[in-house]
Symmetry: D3
Subunit: 250 residues, 6 copies
């Protein structure tokens, strides 16, 4: 099985971190290929950046889709996911949706813990979009600023653990999700210091992508995720233009 | 007052139609300037196309924003709206949100009538995103295919009136919204044949943009619609890159 | 355009304040006429008082409706609004609904700031009635008592600004609405001290009334806001009796 | 125990019917006293009429409250109920709320069956106000017009039974409520022809009023149903003015 | 009238306490018979224990149902209630549902006060199951551990009163419910020290059971609470097996 | 990895069918062990039967838990699941929750198709319990009666396919779930005749159980799914008594 991991951020170091965590949790035989956005910002944190990143996800999916069994949108918040799911004939999973839906099988209420208050509105809208407000215990956010996205785990580990612990007591969370691609791999390190299950969104996305492949879903030819009708386009990258307009043969 | 009407579709004929309707309803003294997307599809109808169009909205806003008092996202479904609202220091209004919120002052339940079943899932997600499900009577869609977007009003007028009439009886709608930019101007023509108030989304958006300007709201410097923190970017159009990264001086 | 501003409170000083603010924001050419309740309490604050005031709104609308293009129910909480909308052949807008729906175009979550805890349950039920709970960040209320309704702005200005500031930080509000007719005109004075857009409910109601008139909605002849069937009545004021029972000719 | 049955309609024949049904179901020792509105319409059916009737309920409660243990608002839709509950120091129950909450103990989903489509929007808003939408299977309404309110049971019995039967099959109702004061007493006659429990709203209201009295609740001196602070008033009936402004001694 | 009070806990002392309170509030002529679970735990506090207790409720109902007019499930949280309602031809009421629905007639928002944090998730799911989240002000729980279930009222009275008082101020509760069978009888003792109506769940359940009997509901022969189709079974107690499989003749 | 498949029905043939399907989809190296309820009914279809079955699930889990990595509750509707999740130190997944949460990654709205109208209320309550109403397109049920649970796939295949097809068109489902253990294995056979992804609940549950194991969640020692405090019990099977009361050592 080959999984395409689409990082809508432009930071290759984040892609690397995600791919490393993905490989560690993947079933033997699953090959992980990561791609990094050519356009956009190093780390998406706002609605505007997510919109830019969402369009990039479609471009990257179009360019790289051949030869894969499933794709993962590798930014918590799932930019571009619904469109990717429409266009693609293979399953596409978002990091946030995978983490949240998985959390629902480990408890009644999940909390999200993350490293920047800027992320909060975008993440909350993602919970709402997924219709999971009634399962949602809230978001806990580190209020401290950080020197670089790459150092977030090193600089903030204790703080994030403390936020997770408080989410259990104060927000009555049964499960804690670490949100944000830069936190990939953190859950495993601090599992013993949080008194409820913690979910690594990267791990959840990889395993859910594998699950979908194993269930052999057909591409919808009806319903709201059937392939859109072919349509002329202007100014899109050739692979995306082909996906939007052409005969689909993947 | 100068209003920037941003059409995320690539069809200049649709922009023209919208601008004509907008000018007719605008307060004397309001100048309307329409811009058409350089990239994308002639008429956005799916989630994927809305994602592409949403990124275009940000590009167009960045390029043209100087010298305007407010902007309108001129596609029912409001692609890119939340991001545009973050980035812009002037008010930005979406066609769908303006139509729906206005409808809430004319009745308890509004229906949307449109010309293609393809639009249905995208429009419904737009209602959900706005948190207006409890005011929503449903979408009625013409099941007939049409020869061209430009002819929709001519070809389907009777059918759309009939759908509006049935939305009142079957869905208990108090107000009917004609959704979809190609329907701009239709409401006025068929007002007398529908037994409840009908809303032209273009008209609603223009009047709501004028209303927001009249209320003199400041640009948020806190909350989730403050200007995002400046951030480096790669590969964006220069104006958007400047909006994302630079000192904002508009 | 002539707007009828219906104050269901019996305090003429409140009517005066509202009318002054309304005139300042109205489009040139819009004439504002304020009327004050003949029966009831100086300032409505509870459900019981709102019920009394609601019936007054219908009486006042019936008495004064001739020669107007739209009406505004000028008490935050909108007493009598749904009935007024049924009976009237011109658009009727409530202060609270106008403020809240307008707020939805300036941010994702709005807070209401007001001057008395007594108002809280009534205001919250108004948010619920409008189906806007998912957009609602909460109500912040001054806990200090005041010497007179007329002095609320002078006595409480700093406190109300502080409540607005805290609503942004603690309730994550993107927009703040000052609720309560005695606060008419406050928003403009303190706009610079609150880091998000503030909405003056009187201003919002006037502009939305103008917007509805501009959109030329027909009076519903079907749906739940059509004119009620004529019906005999006992003991109502003659104009209201005529509206309830008679042939409507306005 | 003495129960005050407040009919906000002006038709004495409806009061009589309600009182008869109330007496038949009351516990021996419960005395039922019915009062009829002096102002308003013979039979409330719209939001506007409910607003007029709601103010009447407060007037009637104020005038007659001495010497009673509880009151019933005897119109399905419960006009004036929240205000009556604030002002009164004894329990006040609405016909609709009593019927719906009782229905929740007999099944998961209740339907309302009534005799006029005009009532539908008002009843639905009543379900929403009570927060019972998730328990609500819908309203079934006779589409036939009737010669007089007094004859509704005679003229429409078969039709109402049929509507009840269909509500079970088509709306998956577990319980059927006959809504509307003119239907008082019907449930008992047709109980055997409907395959699920049927609730007579008058009966439910009387028994719930008795239940509340038996539970000896104190009048709230805090929370949102404490007696409103005394307040001057103008033009109210003397008893209501006293209730609003005076020392309360009942 | 004979009421069967089914205690799914194994502690006879709790049954006794409930029966005493039930008898005190019952209408003269109502006979109360309490039965105690033969299997399970002394005091149900978790979802797992509620599942065990729910099955016991069915067994006890099956064994004792002959000769009763209604049954009460006497554990707050209502284990087994929906199944008991299906199987039984007489009305069955749960303590929690009766208390909550009754509370809705005394105020807009009710709080639950109880003695152990362990109960919190189970109680909250019970509120959700009843669809009453919008009427729910929250649960306040004593954080102190107690020496024995039998002493909870003696040991914790002041603390529980304080929690009730704080629920009014902090959670804006209009009504307070004391949840948990061991608190039966407490409401009456501390009524004067809480500024809003307090509800004793045992009292509420008894009065609601009497109310349902007075309303003479038929056993559903359609809808989701009709008697389940007869079905073979293995290993159930003979009375339950008969209820599940046999001709029902009670 | 060893998965315990707990069938709360007493029909061994259903267990066999489920185990066969489970083995076919499981990752090589996953061992599947099925156990069948010793008490209860051949096929759970009502709330009452689900309550009986739920208690059986706890008994079976207690008896068989040693040596497993995860457990599956193998009845759509998930009887006993929340309690099993509390008691167990390994992950426990329900068939219905696994199918529904998986469906959320393949589309926006899922429908459930099943073979008996009796199942409808129980299934709908399961959707509600999971908080997934906003993702739910409805249940389609065969109205034909069947000769035996074992023959349902043979007798009803065409009918179930037709229901699935209609769920797409009429309920706007993006995904179809075949609900009910007797339908295990059906999805694979008819995949090509339904135009959207179909989910076999057994397959989904197995893959989700594997996913949870792969994510290495710790047993909660806090939150609402921590192991309940040890408690004495009466009359439970020895393994369950030990689980409820004893030191847990698994």
């Amino acid at each position: 099985m080959r999984l395409l991991v689409i990082n809508p951020n432009t930071s290759a170091s984040v892609t690397e971190r995600i791919v490393t965590v993905a490989r560690a949790v993947a079933t033997p035989g699953t090959e992980i290929v990561g791609v990094t956005a050519a356009r956009g910002v190093p780390y998406i944190a706002t609605r505007a950046e997510a919109i830019i990143g969402g369009a990039q996800v479609l471009e990257m999916l179009a360019e790289h889709r051949q030869g894969f069994d499933a794709a993962v949108v590798a930014a918590f918040g799932d930019p571009g996911l619904p469109g990717a799911r429409e266009l693609s004939s293979m399953p596409v999973v978002g990091m946030a949706e995978a983490a949240m839906l998985t959390a629902c099988m480990l408890g009644r209420r999940f909390a999200i813990v993350t490293f920047s208050t800027v992320l909060l509105p975008w993440y909350r809208e993602c919970v709402e979009y997924n219709g999971l407000v009634s399962r949602f215990a809230g978001i806990s956010v580190a209020k401290r600023s950080l020197s670089s996205i790459d150092n977030v785990q090193a600089e903030m580990q204790s703080l994030l653990v403390e936020l997770a612990q408080r989410a259990v007591v104060e927000h009555e969370a049964d499960v804690v999700i670490f949100g944000g691609a830069p936190l990939a791999g953190l859950a495993d390190k601090i599992r013993d210091r949080v008194p409820v299950p913690v979910i690594d969104a990267t791990e959840a996305a990889v395993k859910q992508a594998e699950t979908l492949v194993a269930l052999r879903p057909r591409k919808a030819s009806a319903g709201s995720f059937r392939s859109p009708d072919p349509k002329p386009s202007v100014g899109l990258s050739p692979p995306l233009a082909e996906m939007v307009s052409g005969p689909r043969t993947e």
